[in-house]
Symmetry: C2
Subunit: 166 residues, 2 copies
Amino acid sequence: MADDPPADLHKSPPDRLEEVQTRVWLRILSLYGEIFARLNRVLTAESGVSLAKFDVLAQLDRFSEGLSLGRLSQNLKVTGGNVSGLVQRLSADGLITREMSRADRRSFVVRLTPKGASVFAAARAAHQRELSACFRNVPASDLDVVLQALNGLAGQVHSKSTPVTE
Amino acid sequence: MADDPPADLHKSPPDRLEEVQTRVWLRILSLYGEIFARLNRVLTAESGVSLAKFDVLAQLDRFSEGLSLGRLSQNLKVTGGNVSGLVQRLSADGLITREMSRADRRSFVVRLTPKGASVFAAARAAHQRELSACFRNVPASDLDVVLQALNGLAGQVHSKSTPVTE
């Protein structure tokens, strides 16, 4: 369980609040870093696709009719990364196709190839296996508690930044 | 609060467990992505240092006697990134110095300059302000629940990967 010392209760409330905010962020950061690195390593070794490429393939697997480049970038906003670079490399590897849209000749539609679909299926199995290995010591009831807490947090994260004075 | 549909209770237990594991990971991923992007944007605009550079400065701020490059890389393992590239750029900006170690002439010791310390102080204030803005709608008691849940998870994440068949 936790090895953090308890937050100092003698601090004034605003200081203590800031301390807890920082700890929550550092925990998210370290969990992300550890799990990301493991998934990325296993995926790359077993299926030859990085986690960033995997995320592109996963999007295209959900949309068998294909996705415009713009929509794909939007859906991948969270993981960031250079979507057009990823698309170029996946296309060079024969895992996806990029064709001009029939509806809008200025835009490109991206689709999985049969090879891409089979690479993705194998990668998805490796991804799930490694994720389950990460969490193998976490009882289902604990995971539910974490999920509920994170869902609550995600719903409450304020979406507007403080104004930046430039 | 949550906009996720409840996990399907009619699924077999292993399927449901995998689904919850995936949801926990996707939540960590999206919270990380959103908060990282905001902190990075505000830091870069207000103090001219990216979040990756900020993490280097924060390490050096904790060790006023300086840190060896190797130790610095180790401490920054979580956030990854190219530490030697960051060190080079921070040094070119006059925020840190890099000197040969007196104890071991093969290794370099990195330290904050006075300019680096003052840039870091401003950046730290901006970092805390933006983090507090992210969490401004989250009551302290909810943050405690999240922190406890994440601490528990971090303590239980199994540190050994599944073997990779190469």
